[in-house]
């Protein structure tokens, strides 16, 4: 039963949804870290061929202080580190954040700075191919939506010399005047969450973009949770099975043995039943239904 419990628990983790985007964002915003002297070495930036573009001398060194605790993945132009890679890099002694000291080309070719930039943060949260702010702004795979239709998981992106370049993730959009966003911000050198008023003119520079690959799983979860098995019938030579559901289901249906080994898998479209052949042996099998948006429902079937 313990194995079954593990299996049933683990399958639900594969669902990727707006909820997962928010969880990923939270992980980058809330991560706590304490740099040591290696992570804050000012000499590192000057000895590794980086250009410091800031005009103020405060930009020419890492000014996180060793021994102090900070929140949120540090800002690094061109970086794309999620929180766990960020922490790994710190442990390996890489500097925290680029602090306006950038490589000549976009990004961190030797991948030796710990941190992320705004588009790297958004790409990670979306589980989207790494894109720059300008690429996101003109990405034809993304859908432009009016501000009035914003929903959690959408992005706000600006990319022009007149306005600036930035991308943020919408976390909550109950009202335009109190929209909650998360971002990797170069003005605070890290990932943060805050409340903004999208009615202010400043936000006119931004375009609201939706990644169509993300949809809310709430409705689908409700539907999937309602599904009951109505019958399990054996036919033919005794190795063919037909399983019927209480309501139509679209997605994949898989049969697994008690230790999670796949026996068979089928894609279903508005199906009330499916058939399969089994040559396996054992006393317990598991039927796993995975909806198109990744909602998982599992049943224990003691019939093999």
């Amino acid at each position: 039963m313990f194995i079954i419990f593990l299996f049933l628990t683990s399958v639900s983790l594969y669902a990727f949804s707006i909820d997962s985007v928010i969880t990923r964002s939270d992980s980058c915003v809330l991560v706590e870290w304490t740099p040591d002297s290696n992570n804050t070495s000012a000499a590192w930036y000057l000895n590794n061929g980086l250009q410091c573009t800031g005009t103020d001398s405060i930009y020419r060194k890492c000014d996180f202080s060793p021994g102090l605790t900070y929140h949120g993945v540090a800002y690094s132009y061109g970086g794309e580190d999620p929180w766990y890679i960020f922490r790994d890099k710190l442990e390996q002694g890489f500097p925290a954040g680029s602090h306006q000291c950038h490589y000549n080309s976009y990004g961190d070719p030797s991948d030796t700075i710990a941190g992320t930039d705004c588009s790297g943060f958004l790409s990670f949260a979306w589980n989207y191919p790494r894109s720059s702010t300008s690429m996101l702004y003109s990405d034809s795979n993304l859908q432009t939506v009016p501000f009035s239709h914003l929903q959690p998981g959408d992005a706000l992106v600006m990319a022009s010399s007149g306005c600036g370049y930035h991308a943020v993730l919408v976390i909550e959009s109950e009202s335009l005047s109190e929209t909650v966003i998360a971002e990797a911000s170069s003005s605070v050198f890290g990932c943060r969450e805050r409340v903004v008023d999208l009615n202010q003119q400043y936000w006119n520079c931004y375009k609201a973009l939706r990644y169509p690959g993300l949809t809310s799983i709430k409705k689908e979860k409700q539907q999937t949770d309602k599904i009951q098995l109505t019958s399990i019938k054996r036919s033919g030579n005794g190795k063919n099975y037909r399983i019927s559901f209480s309501s139509p289901f679209s997605g994949s249906a898989g049969i697994y043995n008690a230790i999670g080994k796949s026996i068979c898998r089928k894609d279903l479209e508005s199906a009330n039943s499916f058939t399969f052949s089994s040559t396996g042996s054992g006393t317990v099998s598991i039927l796993k239904l995975v909806s198109k948006k990744g909602v998982t429902r599992s049943f224990v079937i003691p019939f093999l």
């Binding site: 976390i171 109950e174 109190e178 202010q200 400043y202």
Partner: protein, 251 residues
């Protein structure tokens, strides 16, 4: 704490009966690059005036473009600027702040800390963690759980947002006292500035204060912290646009 709620509710109700316009005058109208600049990070994010505070003798502006506090007198005359010691985040030291005696106390919402600065020389005196999940079990909405505002009341620090506040137990640091209550704004109203005698609230885009109602002056660029302050019996409003900084004061 119940008093706050009652006062807020009373003020809101009064405003419905005594709504009228309030005259204001512009006391600061500075183009950029006089005492402030419209800065940008090399990546293109805006850096500018981030919060506006006042007491009976001074108006204080936190300038995030150069990590400083600017001082004006209440007539709008520029006095001076002091640079603030870094907390390790470039020119950011907080979203909002209050002034108590010779301290500017910032709320650093990124690291969930209060940063105490000496107003004479800009040195950072201490840093305290605040209970950033204080509203975790109180509100389902995130915008009401985020703590991004700091107010002073009888020298006590209140933390919260435009919907709710709590008394920050400074000696007890991050510990939540069982006796502490959460103060909530009345429904459909937001706290713009908290003062137990005359809170300033926002309702349907209008500002309500001392039984009067007037339109909210909009800032082109958003301030991270408060844009409204009280000096004596005057209401101060700070706005930023493409041309520069403007500060208004009620007559």
């Amino acid at each position: 704490m119940k008093t706050l709620f009652l006062i807020l509710a009373f003020t809101a109700n009064c405003s419905l009966f005594f709504a009228q316009g309030i005259d204001d005058e512009i006391i600061v109208d500075e183009p950029w690059d006089t005492h402030f600049s419209l800065g940008r990070t090399p990546e293109g994010e805006i850096l500018t005036v981030a919060a506006c505070v006042a007491d009976s003798t001074r108006i204080y502006l936190y300038d995030m473009a150069d990590r400083s506090i600017a001082f004006f007198d209440t007539a709008g005359k520029f006095i001076n600027k002091i640079n603030l010691e870094s907390i390790g985040r470039a020119t950011y030291v907080g979203d909002d702040f209050v002034v108590r005696k010779n301290n500017a106390i910032f709320i650093n919402t990124v690291d969930k800390r209060l940063e105490y600065y000496n107003l004479s020389d800009g040195s950072r005196e201490k840093s305290l963690q605040y209970p950033y999940d204080y509203f975790k079990d109180e509100f389902p909405e995130r915008n009401r759980r985020i703590i991004n505002r700091i107010f002073l009341d009888q020298e006590n620090i209140l933390l919260g947002n435009s919907h709710a506040l709590f008394d920050f137990n400074e000696p007890g640091l991050a510990k939540r006292s069982r006796s502490q209550k959460i103060m909530r704004s009345p429904p459909n109203k937001q706290i713009l500035f908290y003062d137990s005698r005359k809170p300033v609230i926002k309702e349907s885009g209008s500002v309500h204060w001392k039984g009067k109602k007037f339109r909210m002056r909009q800032s082109h660029f958003p301030l991270l912290g408060k844009s409204i302050a009280i000096s004596g019996e005057k209401l101060i409003t700070c706005t930023i646009n493409n041309n520069g900084l403007q500060i208004f004061r009620t007559r």
